[in-house]
Point group: C2
Chain length 191, copies 2
């Protein structure tokens, strides 16, 4: 064979990684096959040696995006003092740095309305990702019973998603911080 055995796997991984950034940074239609392959250093013709269709790439990209942000937030939560894990998540998610880096952030803030409108093949994947994201985060949420933690997850993530989205529409850092800070205050004083 022309390439090392692990070569194809690595290229595949890199394409998904690049697409996952592009999708979050520029929207579901931002990860054009030719653009993503160019990012990876290849030409568009080779794409179908790695994926059955553009849809497959989108699904894998979304999985990768949820995995990446899940790791980031779980990492922040695990380093926090006992009982404050959810606060660490809120502070990470609502930080100016996080807000500025759409392409490495949560696919919900980057894509939620587009995901809700996506064709069924994508939507079912998104639903599964959202459920496993929730199950992973619920462990860090405030509340005694599982049901309380789930409600906290939905309330906290709703506020964070909306706040980052609104902040990203605003051009000035000071205005952005006002939105992020208002959401942070609401959440940190409510649970």
């Amino acid at each position: 064979m022309r390439y090392q055995p692990q070569h194809k796997t690595e290229v595949h991984r890199k394409i998904v990684q690049d697409a996952s950034r592009r999708v979050r940074g520029e929207g579901l239609s931002g990860a054009a096959v030719a653009a993503v392959m160019r990012d990876t250093g290849l030409t568009h013709g080779g794409f179908y040696k790695h994926f059955g269709s553009k849809d497959d790439l989108l699904r894998e990209s979304l999985h990768e995006a949820f995995r990446e942000i899940g790791d980031t937030l779980a990492g922040a939560a695990e380093q926090a003092q006992p009982g404050t894990a959810w606060k660490a998540i809120v502070k990470t998610y609502l930080s100016p740095e996080y807000c500025e880096h759409v392409e490495r952030g949560c696919p919900l803030t980057a894509l939620a309305p587009e995901l809700a409108r996506a064709p069924e093949t994508i939507r079912s994947q998104v639903l599964a990702e959202l459920v496993s994201y929730k199950d992973r985060m619920v462990a860090f949420m405030p509340g005694r019973r599982r049901a309380d933690k789930e409600r906290a997850f939905f309330a906290i993530f709703s506020t964070m998603v909306g706040a980052v989205e609104i902040a990203r529409i605003l051009p000035e850092p000071a205005m952005r911080e006002k939105v992020l800070g208002s959401a942070r205050d609401l959440l940190l004083h409510s649970f």
Copy 2:
């Protein structure tokens, strides 16, 4: 002239109305010139008798969308008991009916991430619309001083926007209601 004097104005209004629904229902790229003109009962060729460019249509559609939801929420707020205006807004925004009708809802829930990524010509318009939407809603927000009401606006709308977006990803009404209800509980117990 072939048409009544007010004819052109009415057709223009109808195109904007149709585009405003399409943009919210199917995204910024959902209001294709040919599709919108078909909605209005015309063919695509006549479009440029009414608009200088697709961008002009998008800007007018967004203005119309913010106007429509602003009227709806202000109407709900004005009918409420004194001091509970903001609660009426929260209940309206987080109702299942509102959640189901993307195309008549708030452009923030339908489009926020796309608006943040839009080209500067659209973004500056969006910023102006967001500011005037905020100024209109701030009057109904809880809090004593103007600054408190602004912070309440950002916190409340962040939560509402995120909750409706997440709910819309979920297929089952019961799951949607769980998200909307969690956000409603958070907000109604926090101000």
